[in-house]
């Protein structure tokens, strides 16, 4: 007789529970909903970068047959925005437009042609104002304020000094500083933004499907801008074609769609173009970093002093968090005892950036890891070794800004990449035009303080058990391709010892699923995973009690083997279905709840304003080695191979963890080698996937993934963040590899062949001039 065992789910390579829909074309995304009475929504956008609105004349558009509604900024005087402290954006501009492409009006019509004709009939009268397309222009003396309440066009200034920085530099044997420029990056998620809003005038009820990572925040902003009760709105997130942070705040698309649907008294779908998706933006801001590091002669860091200036676009979005993250997240990778930071988030007349993957820390980490590498080479210290020397002494470790590091697999990550890349034999010995570089990074597993404090738990999961023996997992957590529904199912299945085929799932529908804050800041695995474990534990208690009653023993004497519950090894026991039947007797369908809350120790520092933002329950760690080869004539850079080690705490689903790490590395490579938006007088000139160059399959390197499991004490089965950290480490590892290959070090991103050629030529002519 086979021994009965609970089914294992954790640590098992598990294809996504919603994979079959995706590979068969059955998965429905927002643009795939098209009821027969659906109107087409089109947005009229500002042709200028900065102007006072004199008039938006929509009379001719309204008179066009087939047009059902035309709305302007008059439709709502309520603002929206992710952060309660910076909510200054209107769905449709009022009084002023502040970037080229900002929505001004919207048409709902019976078909695309009519909608476009109506758009062409809108007469927009405006008085142009001076416009600023760089941080420097916007901060210059005499510049007009883009927002009256933001003097000098500074959205947020952050200043802190933790530890004795001047003394740290005095104690240093070697000090260097360097200035870096990192281009603005767009997510270029494959699905352009889309929403479909169905307004029921008889009930004054609004149903919205939207491509979002944060249906709950969208729900809040819909209620605010529509001036409707939250209970009169149903927000649904269908399948979503990627996010990477471009949808971690409510976007104007879904708000405009709902506003125009109400005006039309029906259903409207807005599917914006790829160009409009670029304009909606919310990517990584262009960032200038001035970095200064002090080292002892044997490579110990004595002090860090740096400044970050972010071109913040016309509205804050997540900007205040971004500039705070650029400071707070300097801590937690290495043992730093003196850090000074100044951050400036600047308002400009360009589309607003947001919280892109690797939010806030990517460009600053790049600058730090690049300069540290350079100094190690000058001191003659191995560049991997200098990182090892400065590791934290922990866990448990408390940083200067009161981040608690409870799990720390970075030393093992470094060991792994050193061995896998054959570092000791190959680094510095590969000859001209070939090189190896290393870098480290970390990233939080969700912010411990939510954006909108409501006093509710961070995550709630429901499990519904019914007469048929199936369990439905209900979560508001938005599945956007990262595998969150699979993860939550695995967690519950593991606790109950059942195969995941016992489970169905229902996600992100405000009418049916418990609220969830959304898929951002790598919070879902940690928080929703824990809530799922809690729910399954509660369900198990009920099942054990029901089995005990049936078996006429005490609950603690019942053993749960997943499909069988028994009292002792000699007992034949009850099947799962029999236990379910017993549990439902007299009560009917059972729905249990599980919660997760963060611990107060993770709530971050109060040492400076906004410091709490960096607090997280756990941080994931990455070390990466990148090998490059450079064409001596064209300076084309080939990424030959990447070795990516990441401490994910515990790989709940090693298949999905690999997928996340590979995708992160690759997205970091895009930023490093070719990506970057460009504007000509505020007009986006890279708003297509031909002009904004993301890497194709042809130039994408092999990536060897090393999963390190440090087992976080509070993570679900020990798990932490898996989808962002390895993006951050790629970029400096890549430029460090170029420095190894050529002896010159690129500072500005992206490192295109023409820039690299110029760098090499300048360095050669400088050397000749010196001789």
């Amino acid at each position: 007789m086979n021994e009965i065992k609970p089914t294992k789910s954790i640590g098992v390579r598990t294809p996504l529970v919603d994979g079959p829909e995706k590979v068969s074309g059955k998965a429905l995304y927002s643009a795939d909903f098209n009821p027969s009475d659906c109107l087409v929504g089109r947005i009229f956008r500002s042709p200028v970068s900065h102007a006072e609105i004199i008039d938006v004349d929509i009379s001719a558009a309204q008179a066009l047959p087939g047009v059902k509604a035309v709305i302007t900024g008059d439709e709502t005087d309520e603002t929206f925005g992710i952060l309660p402290v910076a909510r200054f954006e209107y769905p449709l501009a009022r009084d002023k437009v502040r970037y080229k492409g900002e929505p001004v009006a919207c048409v709902a019509a019976i078909d695309v042609e009519t909608a476009q004709k109506a758009i062409d009939l809108i007469k927009f009268k405006y008085k142009e104002l001076p416009a600023y397309f760089t941080s420097q222009e916007a901060m210059a003396e005499g510049a007009v304020y883009i927002h009256d309440h933001r003097e000098g066009n500074i959205e947020r200034e952050v200043d802190f000094e933790l530890g004795e920085v001047d003394e740290g530099f005095e104690a240093a044997d070697f000090i260097m500083e360097e200035t870096f420029n990192c281009a603005e990056i767009a997510q270029v998620q494959m699905e352009p933004h889309a929403a479909i809003a169905e307004y029921d005038p008889t009930r004054d009820f609004m149903t919205v499907h939207a491509s979002t990572q944060v249906p709950y925040y969208g729900h809040l902003m819909l209620a605010k801008t529509l001036k409707m009760e939250e209970s009169q709105i149903r927000m649904i997130k269908p399948f979503v074609g990627g996010g990477f942070g471009c949808r971690t705040e409510c976007l104007n698309v879904e708000l405009i769609c709902a506003l125009v649907a109400r005006a039309a008294g029906g259903t409207v779908r807005i599917v914006v173009s790829r160009e409009e998706t670029f304009i909606t933006h919310r990517g990584r801001p262009e960032t200038d970093v001035e970095m200064k590091i002090g080292l002892t002669k044997d490579g110990m860091i004595t002090a860090v002093d740096y400044k970050a200036i972010q071109r913040g676009g016309a509205f804050s979005g997540y900007g205040v968090v971004t500039i705070l993250y650029s400071g707070g997240l300097m801590f937690g990778v290495y043992d730093l005892q003196a850090v000074r930071y100044k951050g400036l988030r600047v308002l400009t007349n360009t589309p607003p950036p947001g919280a892109m993957r690797g939010h806030g820390i990517t460009d600053v980490r790049y600058a730090f890891e690049s300069l540290l590498d350079k100094m190690a080479m000058e001191l003659g210290i191995d560049t991997l070794e200098i990182r090892r020397k400065n590791l934290l002494q922990g866990p448990k470790y408390e940083t200067l800004n009161e981040m608690f590091i409870n799990s720390y697999g970075l030393p093992e990550c470094l060991d792994w990449v050193e061995k896998a890349s054959d570092w000791k034999k190959r680094k510095g010995k590969m000859g001209l035009y070939k090189g190896l570089g290393v870098a480290c990074a970390h990233y939080p597993s969700g912010a411990s303080k939510p954006v909108n404090w409501s006093g509710e738990p961070h995550a709630t999961v429901h499990l519904k058990l019914d007469w048929d023996g199936s369990i439905t997992l209900l979560t508001g957590a938005p599945e956007i391709g990262q595998g969150s529904t699979t993860m939550a199912t695995q967690c519950a299945a593991e606790v109950l010892g059942l195969d995941i085929s016992r489970f169905q799932s229902l996600t992100s529908d405000s009418k049916l699923t418990p609220k969830d804050n959304g898929s951002y800041s790598s919070r879902v695995t940690y928080m929703v995973g824990n809530a799922s474990i809690d729910a399954a534990t509660n369900l198990k208690t009920i099942l054990l009690e029901a089995a005990a009653k049936k078996l006429e023993v005490k609950p603690e004497d019942v053993e749960c083997l997943g499909e069988v519950y028994r009292a002792g090894t000699q007992d034949e026991g009850l099947t799962f279905n029999e236990v379910v039947k017993a549990a439902l007797e007299g009560t009917g369908t059972i729905t249990v709840k599980g919660n997760f809350d963060t611990l107060p120790e993770s709530w971050g520092t109060k040492k400076y304003r906004g410091g709490a933002i960096s607090g997280s329950m756990a941080y994931a760690y990455a070390a990466q080695v990148v090998e490059v080869s450079i064409d001596p004539e064209t300076f084309d850079i080939t990424v030959v191979k990447v070795w990516a080690a990441q401490d994910v705490g515990k790989a709940l689903n090693p298949l999905a963890v690999e997928g996340q790490i590979e995708g992160s590395v690759w997205m970091g490579m895009g930023q490093a080698i070719s990506e970057g938006t460009q504007y000509h007088n505020g007009l986006g000139i890279t708003n297509s996937m031909l002009d904004y160059r993301v890497p194709t399959i042809v130039e994408s390197p092999p990536i060897e993934v090393g999963i390190i499991e440090s087992i976080d004490p509070h993570g679900p089965f020990g798990a932490k963040e898996a989808g962002e950290t390895s993006l951050i480490s790629f970029i400096p590892a890549f430029t460090n590899a170029i420095a190894d290959a050529l002896g010159v070090r690129p500072l500005d991103l992206p490192v295109t062949p023409d820039r690299l050629m110029e760098l090499v030529e300048n360095s050669t002519s400088n050397k000749k001039a010196a001789e």
Binding site: P15, L16, V23, I697
Partner: protein, 166 residues
């Protein structure tokens, strides 16, 4: 009359089914499939020919449905992602993309699979380089392409062993 209204009578085969439809001359094949027939498996990810999400097979050859007018598909045989499953079972390519995690968000997946389908019909045993070349017109923003290559290799192995068994 029909010339003045710029419409055509389109006769074509979509996923094995013969159709006769009245279509506007400016209707894109992608919109014909998605909006007129309701085959929303074919995705639109860009403003024309940049991303490959809308790749379908026209007479067995992978093409961008967003760069083709429906009216030019007279008598053509069009295949979309919805046609791939065989006898209620996912095809080898579909299983590869599912089991090897060649799909994350899934938005590029229909186009990616149709491009791979076209490749394997032309070359049933492509090496890694040939897979890369065959999928060069399809962008994926989630996977870094590693597991997409593995997914196609999975299908190649499956089809190969099936061929040997037969």
């Amino acid at each position: 009359m029909s010339e003045k209204r710029n419409i055509s009578l389109l006769h074509c085969t979509v996923n094995g089914k013969e159709r006769d439809d009245v279509v506007k001359d400016n209707l894109l094949l992608a919109d014909y499939l998605r909006e007129e027939i309701g085959l929303t498996g074919t995705k639109i990810g860009c403003d024309g020919g940049e991303c490959g999400c809308c790749t379908v097979l026209i007479d067995g050859v992978p093409q961008h449905a967003c760069l083709r007018l429906a009216a030019t598909c007279q008598d053509a045989e069009i295949e979309t992602i919805e046609a791939l499953a065989e006898q209620n079972r996912l095809s080898a390519l579909q299983r590869g993309f599912h089991e090897k995690l060649g799909t994350q968000c899934g938005f590029c997946t229909p186009g990616m699979i149709m491009a791979a389908e076209g490749l394997l019909r032309e070359n049933p045993n492509p090496n890694e380089d040939e897979i890369r070349q065959g999928l060069a017109a399809n962008i994926c923003r989630c996977t870094g392409y590693i597991k997409i290559i593995e997914a196609v290799q999975f299908a190649v192995d499956e089809l190969d062993s099936k061929g040997k068994a037969a």
